[in-house]
Symmetry: C2
Subunit: 212 residues, 2 copies
């Protein structure tokens, strides 16, 4: 049982779903905490069935059928055991930052483009969450009694996205001061930033440039 299996099992604990519903629900609602491919999401409930944590049966819509999955008591017990296990550390995959680290291979404009692309991707996710929250106000939550959990979860996303957007602006004003991407090294400005960071403090909110 992987974390992905427990994620699907937790969805099954809410109600029975077809494989199709399950994958799409998981992509809509779990994407920001646990992003997994459609392909995997289709495979997981099958595995749960072989483990006895779920049952499956076919349901027909005209000439076509879909697989409906339902959690078993054994599955509910497995979920409870998961609750007791150690939470895995978070994992952040950010190609934009990898490109930043090696930005001296390209031009300042290449780096600016990378920041633009990161901003666009984050903006998309930011908008999606904001719209989801607006839909909760208008139409309510699909599982009304779980609204408080979705909303506390959403405060994390929004906090995350706004702080990344703040950083992107900060990074842009920083690189605007750079004559090139390479061989800058330990400038006065960089030394000043290190001073803050070494104390674990955020540098994003400080004044753009210290007068030299």
């Amino acid at each position: 049982m992987t974390t992905s299996s427990y994620a699907i099992l937790a969805l099954l604990d809410l109600r029975p779903w077809t494989g199709y519903e399950l994958t799409h629900q998981a992509q809509r609602s779990l994407r920001y905490a646990w992003p997994k491919s459609e392909r995997l999401l289709y495979s997981e409930p099958k595995k749960l069935v072989t483990l006895g944590y779920a049952t499956t049966h076919q349901e027909a819509t005209g000439n076509r059928s879909s697989n409906v999955y339902e959690i078993t008591d054994s599955g509910r017990r497995a979920l409870t055991e998961w609750t007791g296990s150690r939470t895995r550390p978070p994992r952040f995959e950010i190609e934009a930052l990898l490109r930043l680290l090696f930005a001296d291979h390209g031009s300042i404009d290449d780096l600016r483009r990378t920041l633009d692309e990161l901003e666009a991707d984050i903006g998309e996710q930011h908008d999606a969450i904001a719209e989801l929250m607006a839909s909760y106000l208008d139409d309510g939550h699909p599982f009304p009694q779980r609204t408080h959990l979705s909303v506390l979860f959403a405060t994390f996303q929004i906090e995350m996205f706004t702080s990344i957007e703040r950083w992107i602006d900060f990074a842009r004003t920083e690189i605007d001061q750079w004559p090139a991407t390479e061989d800058l090294g330990m400038t006065e400005r960089t030394a000043a930033l290190i001073g803050l960071l070494a104390d674990g403090e955020s540098a994003v909110s400080i004044s753009p440039t210290t007068p030299s």
Copy 2:
């Protein structure tokens, strides 16, 4: 060629490394932007050799040998092509948030423990970056002319970690108001939070509880 291959290729562009050095360097310095397993990191340079992007030769230390990898001109060209490609969207895997979403399966104390574990993991990474920055002040950067890049990268990490730590405190004060994890639903407080989030605004800095 995957992003991981380009990450290794970018390291090889700095200087030749042994497979061992490469994996350990990648885990130390790239971990926060591109976390990959030791196993993969050992395999990547081999792939680069078969593609003609790197060459390899054995070097001996006593009776034991290590594989030294060096970038080729073709490899440098590949790196340049990578610079022109679209940056992949970021990806955040946070099991703690998955557990939060399904917290109604367990107790409030289970949820509190999850937050504690997240705090511990983030704190570890936060400290590691702060220490790295302190070492730059004391001993300098291993590639001095690239200090500005590492430091701008570090401003992102610290910003991220401090904002997550702020959110954890916020989440703790929120759940302190909950009588249980389940069936709370759309409370006054939750509705107030949604109002903010639907506008894309951060809720973390607002006052703990609106008087009711």
